[in-house]
Symmetry: C2
């Protein structure tokens, strides 16, 4: 039997299709819909809080906040996005006057990114919203389950490296 990526799981449970290898599971489908709902929830909460940030913009803003003064490539690596997307997302953040682009003195190919005052303020405003979502998303689950979940998720990640 197997479950498949892309089909109806009938109220969260996989469809039994036919006798087959038990190792073939609809991981993609299951992950996809939860990821989609998490992202949409954050989008709505940011809007409800009158915070003018998309989820992706938040991810990048958060990355810059945690890194201090990363280059665009560093942001790309850390957020698992590619260079063109980072370039454009940073463009939006610059347009919103949240960050500053500075050409690196030693290597003029590089651009160092940092939050300005408004960026720091918006991060502080958005963080509690994100934090609340994290807590709610993890309701009814304990520390051990979290560890198991992370281990399995990372195993899947590694399996495809």
């Amino acid at each position: 039997m197997y479950y498949y990526w892309g089909g109806n799981l009938d109220d969260c449970y996989p469809i039994l299709m036919e006798p087959m290898d038990q190792n073939a599971k609809a991981i993609g489908y299951l992950i996809d819909r939860t990821q989609k709902r998490l992202k949409l929830s954050l989008t709505h909460r940011l809007q409800a809080a009158n915070i003018d940030l998309t989820v992706e913009q938040w991810v990048v803003l958060d990355c810059i906040h945690s890194q201090g003064k990363p280059t665009q490539n560093q942001i790309a690596d850390l957020t698992f996005k590619d260079a063109p997307n980072i370039s454009r997302i940073l463009g939006h953040l610059v347009a919103k006057k949240l960050i500053v682009r500075e050409t690196d003195e030693k290597d003029r190919r590089r651009t160092n990114i940092s939050l300005n005052e408004k960026g720091v303020a918006l991060f502080a405003q958005a963080f509690p919203v994100v934090q609340a979502l994290r807590e709610e998303s993890w309701q009814h689950l304990n520390q051990k389950e979290y560890q198991t979940f992370v281990r399995i998720l990372n195993q899947v990640f590694e399996n495809l490296s």
Copy 2:
């Protein structure tokens, strides 16, 4: 302590930031990167097999295959996409001559979707590719771990309903 959505997890392990509620975890970040890699893997495998389908087009094609003759709204519900996106994805599938749109006789608002011969053939061609990915993504993990994973993932999903 908490882990955060959007930041560097340093080789798959969460960053320790400060003493805090243990229930706040970077679920979004962890799910996001694995989902992204799964999707990219399938994209590359379909390309390598010379199958002209995007992942989303595959998901919709697979849904139609499993449902027989769904309406567009049914496809939207089953794939967790919205009506406009389904409309456009179906547009691509029609352009590729893989599916047929038919106005419902009894309710002329509805459009019934079905695979044509070429669509069935392409499904048959793509399915083993998807199946192989599913098996590989689940390597080194057993049935019990799969069940645990699904349960936790669906709990997170429900937490945000």
